[in-house]
């Protein structure tokens, strides 16, 4: 009986939580399927309207900007590339760095660790001007490289991997050494397969981080070809703030909905790995 009650209570709380998470996006979605006049005169809408295909088609395929080549589809692809680039590079180089710090005995290990560690203090927003100058000096403005690299420069993933490697039993290396594995073989044949869930968790973490970038692409890209979907939020905001006489609210909501689909899909599809990976870090 008590058990039944606790179950009911749990479901009740969880349902409230789900509503809290789902309602805002539901409203954004339903509003994205209405025409602008309805939205402007009656406000946001609770039920889907008739313009789903029209609004989404318009947002995805309407060519904007001066070149008239950039579409939301293109911006989504850019964001995806940015998220993917940052996640992949970060996972690879952080694994390598953490491996070196944990599995090698050398005198500089501690100073180098601190050298990497200190970088946690300076997020991009704080060093945005000088970073922009450097990226421009090496000629990387308006390129995917320029979008990705300065954001790869951070220590978080190194720490997660370092912690994880430290929890790996020493016996693994001992037995690998008996098998005659050198440091490269050990890394590739033993450690990487063992880190699979951890890699997945970090990948999701970093993908969401990269995809979410806002200020950096805004500053970095003067070429419309490299516009990302999240920096587009600024343009929507400026439009709201400066005011236009007939705001295209429906299409804006459609754009918002489209922009959240890729990272949400990644998180939802890979959630099992994500949580598993986190459990491993917790050790």
């Amino acid at each position: 009986m008590i058990n039944r009650l606790t179950q009911m209570f749990a479901h009740f709380i969880l349902l409230l939580g789900v509503l809290l998470m789902v309602i805002p996006i539901w409203l954004a979605f339903t509003s994205s399927t209405h025409d602008n006049v309805t939205l402007i005169t009656e406000g946001m809408q609770w039920y889907p309207g008739p313009l789903f295909i029209e609004n989404y088609d318009e947002v995805l395929n309407e060519k904007g900007g001066f070149s008239e080549e950039i579409t939301a589809t293109g911006m989504l692809i850019n964001s995806f590339i940015m998220g993917l680039g940052i996640a992949t590079l970060k996972v690879i180089i952080s694994m390598m760095a953490a491996y070196s710090l944990v599995y090698f005995r050398f005198r500089l290990a501690t100073p180098i660790f601190w050298f990497i560690f200190i970088t946690l203090l300076v997020p991009l927003e704080v060093r945005i001007f000088p970073s922009y100058k450097i990226v421009s000096d090496i000629g990387l403005t308006n390129s995917y490289t320029g979008l990705v690299l300065p954001l790869v420069a951070s220590a978080t993933a190194v720490f997660f991997f370092r912690q994880f490697y430290k929890s790996v039993p020493d016996e693994l290396l001992e037995s690998a050494k008996l098998d005659g594995a050198n440091s490269w073989r050990f890394f590739i044949d033993f450690l990487v397969p063992l880190s699979k869930t951890m890699i997945a968790a970090m990948f999701i973490f970093m993908f969401v981080f990269g995809y979410s970038q806002y200020l950096w692409p805004l500053l970095m890209t003067t070429d419309e070809k490299y516009w990302t979907v999240v920096m587009g939020m600024k343009l929507i905001y400026v439009e709201l703030y400066e005011g236009v006489s007939l705001p295209r609210v429906g299409q804006r909501f459609a754009y918002i909905i489209l922009s959240i689909i890729p990272p949400v899909l990644i998180v939802v599809l890979l959630q099992r790995w994500f949580i598993k990976g986190l459990i491993q870090t917790e050790k």
Partner: protein, 435 residues
């Protein structure tokens, strides 16, 4: 060279970065207009590009005026700047000060250097003066020039049975009637620009020392030392309390929205806002902004030019500047000037544009476009129109941090003015140090 360097670095770093190569001369033009006005800028560039085969003007919108100025400066410091950029009134002093550092190429200098007839006298005086240096030499290229005007919803006025006021005293007489009829009497979109900077020129008052910065580098703003200004804001607070004036935060659009929706009788905005609202289903007129007849003794003084100018940035090739000069000439043609005036509501900036308007009797069919030029051309002012003060974007930020507190009652008018003056002096001193 840059191409090779780019390629090498990019290859090394796994990704590819390819610099595009075009046969045509590319001119980059950055701007800070959005929405409708942004579309018009794109249209201008397109028209130019279609008019000839050698040059491509590529406009890039960077968001708001503030965004564009920041982006331009960041790009300049990184050596990655456009040829031509739109900088607004508050940034004029910053840009003019950069001629001596070789960042900005003065408009007149450009004309001489590239052997193209760029005649500064071709521009109307108010515009010319605002973007000129201390010697009257033109630095900025006048572009979208506006001033603040009053939009009035005639349906509401008719229903209430009142006329458009010309003074604030008249406004006070009718405000309660409008409110009683269920409308918001007044909304206004820009505290610093309309009810601070232009308040001073509209009442022939000095806003900063150094003769508004035109004689000497200013060291302080005169907000708390100007009783007329304090009186005005005391009145504004009173109106706000009585429901005669509604404040919707600092968003331009948020304050304009009630007027667009036909809920507000008067809206103070930019003459350049005309194009964006002319198709709305409200019956409105454009009018000169009111003034306190008790302050001016019944006389109306001009407001000054707002909006933005385009500025030529140094560091590109002669060939590109020659191309840019052609584009400037194109934009300065009477036809383009009038086209822009007509579509957006920004004033004509060239004398040629003004003459063309006369010739074709433009204002008979478009009387609304006349308000801004008439208000700007009022005579009798003894102070220089506008101001030449550095760090002004930040000083506007200080205004935004203090003046809304008057409305909420958090600060007395005097205290808010005093704090703003203090903040402004510090920023002005900071700017003076770098000159």
């Amino acid at each position: 060279m840059k191409f090779i360097r780019t390629k090498a670095v990019a290859l090394f770093l796994l990704f590819f970065s390819i610099s595009p190569s075009f046969a045509k001369t590319e001119i980059h033009w950055w701007y800070g207009n959005s929405g409708f006005l942004g579309d018009v800028i794109i249209e201008i560039a397109k028209r130019f590009n279609e008019s000839q085969d050698d040059i491509v003007v590529i406009p890039t919108g960077k968001g708001s005026y503030e965004d564009n100025l920041s982006a331009t400066i960041a790009a300049y410091r990184a050596g990655d700047h456009p040829h031509y950029t739109q900088v607004y009134d508050a940034g004029a002093a910053i840009m003019v000060a950069q001629v001596k550092n070789g960042v900005v190429i003065g408009f007149e200098e450009m004309g001489e250097k590239y052997g193209i007839d760029v005649n500064a006298d071709n521009y109307i005086p108010q515009v010319k003066n605002f973007y000129a240096d201390a010697d009257g030499k033109m630095i900025g290229v006048p572009f979208n020039s506006s001033t603040c005007i009053m939009y009035a919803n005639m349906d509401i006025l008719k229903k209430v049975g009142v006329d458009v006021p010309t003074t604030y005293e008249e406004f006070e007489e009718i405000a309660q009637k409008i409110k009683d009829a269920g409308y918001i009497p007044l909304v206004q979109s820009h505290d610093p620009w309309i009810w601070t900077e232009n308040f001073f020129s509209r009442h022939n008052l000095l806003m900063t020392d150094g003769n508004n910065g035109f004689d000497d580098v200013p060291t302080k703003t005169l907000f708390s030392e100007t009783p007329e200004f304090i009186t005005h804001w005391t009145k504004v607070k009173e109106w706000h309390d009585k429901g005669w004036y509604a404040y919707k935060g600092r968003g331009w659009g948020d304050n304009q929205a009630p007027f667009n929706a036909g809920e507000a009788a008067f809206w103070f905005g930019s003459s350049g806002s005309f194009g964006g609202i002319k198709d709305l289903p409200i019956n409105f007129t454009t009018n000169q902004i009111p003034y306190w007849s008790s302050i001016t003794g019944g006389k109306a003084y001009p407001t000054f030019i707002g909006g933005a100018a385009n500025w030529i940035l140094n560091g590109h090739t002669e060939e590109e500047y020659a191309a840019l000069a052609k584009f400037i000439k194109f934009m300065g043609s009477p036809e383009m000037d009038l086209y822009y005036h007509n579509t957006t509501g920004y004033t004509v900036v060239t004398k040629g544009g003004g003459q063309l308007a006369e010739t074709i009797n433009f204002y008979r069919t478009s009387p609304y476009h006349k308000t801004a030029p008439e208000q700007l051309n009022l005579e009798g002012a003894t102070i220089p129109g506008g101001y030449r003060a550095g760090n002004w974007p930040q000083i506007r930020e200080v205004i935004y941090e203090n003046f809304p507190k008057i409305l909420t009652g958090e600060l007395s008018v005097e205290e808010a003015m005093k704090r703003t003056d203090e903040g402004a002096s510090k920023l002005l001193a900071q700017f003076a140090k770098t000159l």
